[in-house]
């Protein structure tokens, strides 16, 4: 199987879906002639031209809203936010329009749009560029929220997101764009709402999404090698819809759970999962549910310090050892 970068896996997904469906159009700042700020859309403008790959001005409110309006007429816009942090200036369009129009029209109007871009801290770009809004977006019924940890997942989830008839918010990660992973040459799709057991284990379940799933995986390797603890790692992949069954089944097997989350702790994705676990798995649990999250403060710039703000394998191991 070819080993390709996460960004190229996304690029393949766009290319294939543009070829497959004449209504798919890619838009955003610098996505066309500049090849994308993070080169995720590299070569697509050259390949498909002005109609299918469109540079927009720096006007997130207007271009995201424009994509939503166009989606009401049947287009399938795939909109890049250079950073998900910039969603703040188009919040009204996402929250009030993309998410609510189907409901407020009694099901008469659909918004089959994908809004995508990186949503992560850890790159020393300061608090304004380091938000992880997946929890906020998943809080809004009407939206779907996806987060990909690997090249394979990124491609399969993106193709599904583009074909989905509801608005899908797709979280990528600048720290992962250059990571290589195996991606098959033949076409595949990954359904939204299916978690992936990235490592099987018996003693504890580590639950994560996005880059935190890789942190959990590394922690699981070390736990096995150094502490003889067998950790199962569940990558949510899709936050809403959520694969509740996979989470519950795993925790019922291992009886312990640590949640790893690059969200901030207050009302983060892991808070939702923890609430669900205590409600549905209380009798199966042999220990409290613990969380490792981003530290609860704005993202600090200082390069040597910021890395401490995000969960790392040692943080995870410490929490695991406290209950195993």
């Amino acid at each position: 199987m070819p080993l390709i970068e996460y960004r190229d896996a996304l690029n393949q997904a766009f290319s294939e879906e543009i070829e497959r469906d004449p209504n798919v159009v890619l838009m955003g700042e610098e996505v066309a002639q500049y090849d994308g700020a993070y080169k995720v859309t590299k070569g697509l403008w050259k390949k498909f031209g002005d109609k299918r790959v469109v540079d927009t001005p720096i006007s997130e409110a207007a271009f995201i809203g424009m994509g939503i309006g166009a989606s009401m007429l049947g287009l399938r816009p795939v909109m890049e936010l250079m950073f998900w942090s910039f969603a703040t200036v188009t919040w009204d369009q996402i929250i009030n329009n993309a998410a609510q129009i189907r409901y407020m029209s009694g099901g008469l109007v659909n918004c089959p749009i994908v809004i995508r871009g990186p949503a992560n801290g850890g790159t020393n770009v300061g608090a304004t560029h380091s938000h992880t809004p997946e929890n906020m977006l998943a809080n809004i019924p009407g939206l779907k929220v996806v987060s990909a940890a690997t090249a394979y997942d990124a491609k399969g989830l993106m193709k599904t997101a583009i074909r989905d008839n509801d608005p899908v918010m797709f979280m990528e990660n600048t720290l992962l764009y250059g990571e290589k992973g195996e991606v098959p040459e033949e076409e595949y799709l990954i359904p939204l709402g299916k978690a992936d057991i990235k490592r099987e284990g018996t003693d504890i379940t580590l639950i994560a999404h996005g880059r935190a799933a890789l942190t959990a995986l590394r922690a699981a390797e070390l736990l096995a090698a150094e502490h003889d603890i067998s950790a199962e790692v569940i990558d949510l992949r899709s936050i809403r819809p959520l694969d509740e069954d996979a989470i519950l089944a795993s925790v019922r097997k291992t009886h312990r759970a640590v949640l790893v989350d690059e969200n901030k702790p207050f009302c983060g994705v892991s808070a939702q999962i923890a609430s669900m676990l205590q409600e549905k798995c209380f009798d199966d649990l042999d220990a409290p549910i613990l969380r490792v999250t981003a530290l609860d403060a704005p993202a600090i710039y200082s390069p040597r310090v910021e890395s401490k703000q995000l969960p790392n394998p040692q943080d995870v191991i410490r929490k695991v050892l406290s209950i195993c």
Binding site: G69, M72, R102, V109, K194, L242
Partner: protein, 358 residues
């Protein structure tokens, strides 16, 4: 040109000159239907039959009816929360609109949208939007969709004079001009953004539409009380959209007789004088002006007018009856129309947990 000459010129514009007597009476009927519908709705609102906000369009009828009367198959409409007039003007029934106000399952949005959120995509009507100015990028998107699909259409996006101060409107104007999109922004300037007069909310050189010059967007300001003028001016913008795929900003001076919403207690004698309201009602009422005109043209008689007015009143009354007798949405319907895939029970809709109540 003085007002009278201008008014005659608009009446003689080809788009108006070609109107048959029946078509002219139909324009009057549409305006009367909006007024009678809303009068009835206000009545029922004060009787406690509906909740929430209600922003009445009464006084502005000529703008929605005039502009929407020009719609072809590929022309689309989107507006803000003062949306009842446009809904009826594009052909939605009083029944579905009144039932929506009552929050009934037979409402146009199944009782899920309410007064500010009427939709009828089958009639090219895309809402009904509650956030001031939030619909302006959506209107841009409708125009984008039309152009992308190679259709010769226009997206008419209505907004109020208050909405012109929202940033996304200017972002949209820039993109409309940059991408050459067939969008027509129609500012219905009723003089007040809620309780704040135009003078207190906006810097104006000559008019609001003129701001389009900053974006090289063609613009026109016109008298919204004259339905012939609305049609003549809007038609030019539609032609520009169809033939050149270019945007236009239109500004129609108009007036609302009621408050920003029915909860606005200060509209009379507060931020505007009773005398001002009475002057508009007496001298600038779009229905009375058009009635007078049609009588002068020999198209209409006083008796016919009363007949049309009574029919609209009866239709509105029947719609209230229909709404009253209609069922409420079921509790289960709270979770319908959230996700397309869930409603259709597609493979995607059956995969994973979409709702988190338990």
């Amino acid at each position: 040109m003085d007002t009278a000459t201008k008014s005659t010129a608009h009446a003689l514009a080809p788009i108006n000159k070609s109107l048959t007597p029946e078509a002219k009476i139909q324009l009057l009927r549409e305006m009367l239907r909006i007024r009678r519908f809303e009068q009835r709705a206000l009545n029922e609102y004060t009787r406690g039959k509906m909740g929430g906000f209600m922003h009445l369009y009464i006084g502005q009828e000529s703008v929605a009816v005039g502009a929407c009367s020009l719609m072809g198959d590929d022309d689309h409409v989107i507006t803000a929360y003062r949306c009842h007039g446009h809904a009826l003007a594009v052909g939605m029934s009083m029944n579905e609109c009144m039932a929506e106000l009552y929050g009934k399952a037979t409402g146009c949005s199944k009782g899920k949208g309410g007064s500010m959120h009427f939709f009828a995509p089958d009639k090219n009507y895309w809402g009904g939007h509650g956030i001031v100015g939030g619909q302006t990028p959506l209107g841009l998107g409708l125009a984008y969709g039309l152009k992308y699909k190679g259709l010769k259409g226009a997206a008419m996006c209505f907004l109020g004079d208050g909405a012109v101060n929202q940033g996304c409107f200017y972002e949209s104007l820039n993109m409309a001009a940059l991408f050459e999109l067939p969008v027509i922004y129609i500012i219905e300037n009723n003089g007040y953004s809620m309780g704040t007069s135009l003078e207190r909310s906006s810097v104006v050189k000559d008019c609001l539409a003129q701001r389009g010059e900053a974006f090289c967007v063609e613009w026109a300001q016109a008298n919204g009380e004259d339905i012939y003028e609305v049609r003549a001016v809007t038609q030019r913008a539609i032609e520009r959209a169809h033939k050149e795929s270019k945007p236009t900003i239109l500004e129609f001076d108009t007036y609302r007789y009621y408050g920003h919403s029915v909860a606005d207690s200060k509209h009379k004698g507060g931020y505007r004088s009773e005398e001002e309201i009475e002057t508009y009602k007496r001298d600038h009422d779009p229905i009375q002006l058009f009635k007078k005109r049609l009588i002068e043209e020999g198209v209409l008689t006083e008796a016919q007018f009363e007949e049309i007015s009574d029919a609209a009143k009866a239709e509105a009354e029947a719609s209230a009856q229909f709404a009253e007798e209609s069922p409420l949405p079921s509790d289960a319907s709270i979770f319908e129309d959230v996700y397309f895939e869930v409603d259709r029970q597609t493979e995607a809709g059956r995969t994973g947990k979409h709702f988190f109540n338990d």
